[in-house]
Symmetry: C2
Subunit: 179 residues, 2 copies
């Protein structure tokens, strides 16, 4: 499934603005203080969500850069797409026990990246308002694993199957979340 | 100089929105059809600029991913911050001779990344409206090299010196561009 025309390689900013508006609407009453995402394809939906909620966006980085020498929260992630392991890191100064975090990402499949962001949130002592996903591949295990742990996962589109080259969407209106 | 509190590691989306609005204002009459940036710290200002101009944003990627098999425009970049070379790639389907490109990036120092984006634009046959930079370190050579080539470079903040640990800003209102 290729989404590079509007979601990651090329971005439609007006569509991304609507995505941010919708996430903000769903978590409006949840006292979110920080949006957390992972570079780089989560940045656009996360920044638009932060814009509509009026809160800062923290971007977990894939590599420790030379200029990032603070103490870090770090978690390993295995990427099935890229077939390699990497680390996500967040400076300790940007997440604390006073924060309430909304995790935003473009895709949820195996839940590796979202799971790492959940662990980073836990390590910081912050509470987790939930996880907002643009496209969930619900035929993969990530979403269910996160919901079974009691996390609120809000996916704007859920794809049940790619069988025969056809995208089958779930009826998201009838979805029931484990909270 | 650390800007990770508002510009890259943690982002202030409302400030980023203002940055996008200002770039859009400066290039409003320039018939821009695409904003072009490099992952990952250019994404937020580029998406906000695209939002205010109402045009798509193309993100040059640092690695060829497994799912990106199209023909690519590719340029090498040497990062002085990370002390390593990497490649920036853009799928050929997102830039063509019909496009007029506005390059947006967070920083301009040696001009390595911006220079690669200029070359990618040239390879595609698109015309270049200009280059919008959030923070230019004008004591480094990148900005002058680009202006000497005749490109319009618009920097929202220009830092002339970091001597003695003090940030000295240029008076950007008195700037004269080579067009």
């Amino acid at each position: 499934m290729k989404v590079d025309r509007f979601l990651n390689h090329q971005i439609d900013p007006l569509f991304m603005d609507e995505i941010g508006r919708e996430f903000a609407r769903r978590f409006r009453d949840d006292r979110v203080t920080k949006v957390l995402t992972a570079e780089s394809s989560g940045i656009a939906p996360a920044v638009m969500t932060g814009l509509h909620l009026g809160v800062p966006v923290v971007i977990a980085r894939k590599k420790k850069s030379v200029t990032m020498t603070d103490e870090l929260y770090t978690e390993k992630v295995f990427s099935f797409t890229k077939k390699s392991e990497y680390e996500l890191s967040v400076s300790k100064k940007f997440l604390s026990a006073d924060d309430r975090v909304l995790i935003i990402d473009d895709f949820l499949a195996n839940g590796q990246a979202a799971g790492a962001l959940v662990k980073i949130t836990g390590k910081s002592g912050a509470s987790l308002a939930g996880i907002g996903i643009v496209i969930e591949k619900s035929f993969q295990e990530g979403g269910n694993l996160l919901r079974k742990q009691g996390f609120r996962v809000e996916s704007l589109a859920k794809i049940e199957s790619l069988a025969g080259g056809v995208i089958h969407f779930a009826d998201t209106k009838r979805e029931v979340y484990a909270r």
